[in-house]
Amino acid sequence: MSVAPIMDAAAIERALARMAHEIVEGNPEADAIVFVGLRTNGAPLAHRLATKVGEILGRELPTGELDITMHRDDLNLRETPPAVGLSDIPFDVTGKTVVLVDDVLFTGRSIRAAMDELSDFGRPKCIRLAVLVDRGHREFPIRPDYVGKNLPTSMTERVTVSLAEIADKDEVVIEK
């Protein structure tokens, strides 16, 4: 098995900065923007994006975290139940533009689960999707609105994102 670097800390930083500007540009109703990250890795990315967008707009943006385990569609296929974690969305999402944030977009199943769960908290005006890496191979009709890096992969490869908040370094690697 070989490991190849895809993004270093500087590349991740540049990608998030560009995505932040795209989010501001694409959402004239900036008052209604909130960020929700998918746990685990989407959560710190959501906080970073919210900070950057907040700097551009000159105010703080509400940020929440979502644990999608209860809404997974593969619970029946697993031998043991995956551990469920806490969601933390300390604001009403009704009427808001929710930017869902995740690290890697692959089959799209996590995003389907996240959209279902988000609807349990309220009725957003719209949901946008921001991902650091889009590796392709979608199984659901889901596409991202903001992408840090498009990365063509084969099904057998593995994309691993490390973030300083969790793994003490910023890095994206591909294992094959």
Partner: protein
């Protein structure tokens, strides 16, 4: 919340006695996540969509059955309730045949309450469905002990090292046995108190302290868990009168005033106001009796999720 590396392997929840401390903590952590679901706009998640749960209650119960039914519904499972007099058991069918019939109907989870200790264990050996013990005789009531522990941990921040006094009818109480096993496993110091006929010294073998002195039992307690007198299980009179029991062991205002200022009052319900607990004490700010009910729902959701999430290979 920190993610536990631990993986749940059981398909049944038969009792607390066979659980490890890790398993207990895993249920409590999982319950914390499910408690949040009850606070959302839409109090329902699809985790058990397509699963069927059968509430097989051979002994009467309202709160436990309702709690399991609501827990299953909030997980999107389908629920059927069977009660003693509505079941074929009154027509002479054995428990085994009843269970096999439920299995033939593709039940995924059977929640059973039965007057005989060990009935859930017996069922778990003959059916493939997950068996959840909702109370078997005077043996175990595991989800009650788990919701009590959840409530203690939520309010006190820990369980280890706390002084927990369980007061009342210990001899006939499955709640007491499950609580003793759970609390001692997690490092609490458990004191049992009540009339000597209902709190025999043999319970010391389970690793707790037994006293028949009410004042001494409540003085240093961080948690006081009151149990109801189980008249339905007592075959002979265990104390002279209800009035005397109340006078000797009821938690009244005067005794309550002599407890620690942060001592927490618990009761698994149904409470008998004016017998084991004064109305004022039951309704005071240190009483968590209704929070126990709310937490029971979260704990039962967690248990149903863990025992049926994932097909055993």
């Amino acid at each position: 919340m920190k993610k536990t590396k631990f993986t749940w392997q059981r398909k049944d929840l038969l009792g607390i006695q066979e659980l490890s401390a890790d398993e207990i903590f895993h249920i409590l952590d999982t319950a914390a996540a499910f408690k949040q679901v009850g606070e959302r706009n839409i109090k329902k998640v699809p985790s058990l969509r397509g699963k069927t749960l059968i509430n097989l209650f051979i002994e009467p119960s309202t709160r436990t059955r309702t709690s399991f039914e609501l827990a299953a519904t909030r997980l999107s499972a389908d629920v059927v309730n069977i009660t003693a007099n509505a079941s074929s058991l009154v027509k002479g069918e054995t428990l085994k045949d009843t269970a096999l019939n439920l299995q033939a109907l593709h039940a995924d989870i059977i929640v059973i309450r039965h007057g005989a200790a060990g009935a859930p264990h017996f069922l778990s050996k003959i059916v493939k469905a997950s068996i959840i013990n909702a109370g078997d005789g005077a043996h175990e009531h595991p989800t009650q002990a788990l919701l009590d522990a959840f409530t203690i941990r939520e309010k006190k921040g820990k369980i280890a090292g706390l002084n927990v006094t369980i007061l009342g009818d210990i001899l006939y109480s499955r709640v007491a046995r499950s609580n003793i096993w759970l609390l001692t496993k997690l490092g609490a110091k458990v004191t049992l108190a009540g009339p000597s006929t209902l709190v025999p010294h043999v319970f010391e073998q389970l690793g707790c302290r037994v006293t028949h002195d009410m004042e001494e039992a409540i003085r240093d307690a961080d948690v006081i868990n009151l149990l109801r007198i189980q008249h339905e299980r007592q075959r002979k009179t265990m104390f002279p009168s209800i009035g005397e029991y109340t006078a000797m062991f009821g938690l009244n205002k005067e005794r309550f005033a002599r407890t620690k200022p942060d001592a927490m009052i618990m009761h698994p319900g149904p409470i008998n106001r004016g017998v084991e607990i004064d109305s004022d004490v039951a309704d005071c700010s240190r009483s968590v009796i209704l929070e126990q009910v709310t937490n029971g729902l979260a704990v039962r959701m967690a248990v149903l999720y863990l025992c049926s999430g994932g097909q055993p290979a």
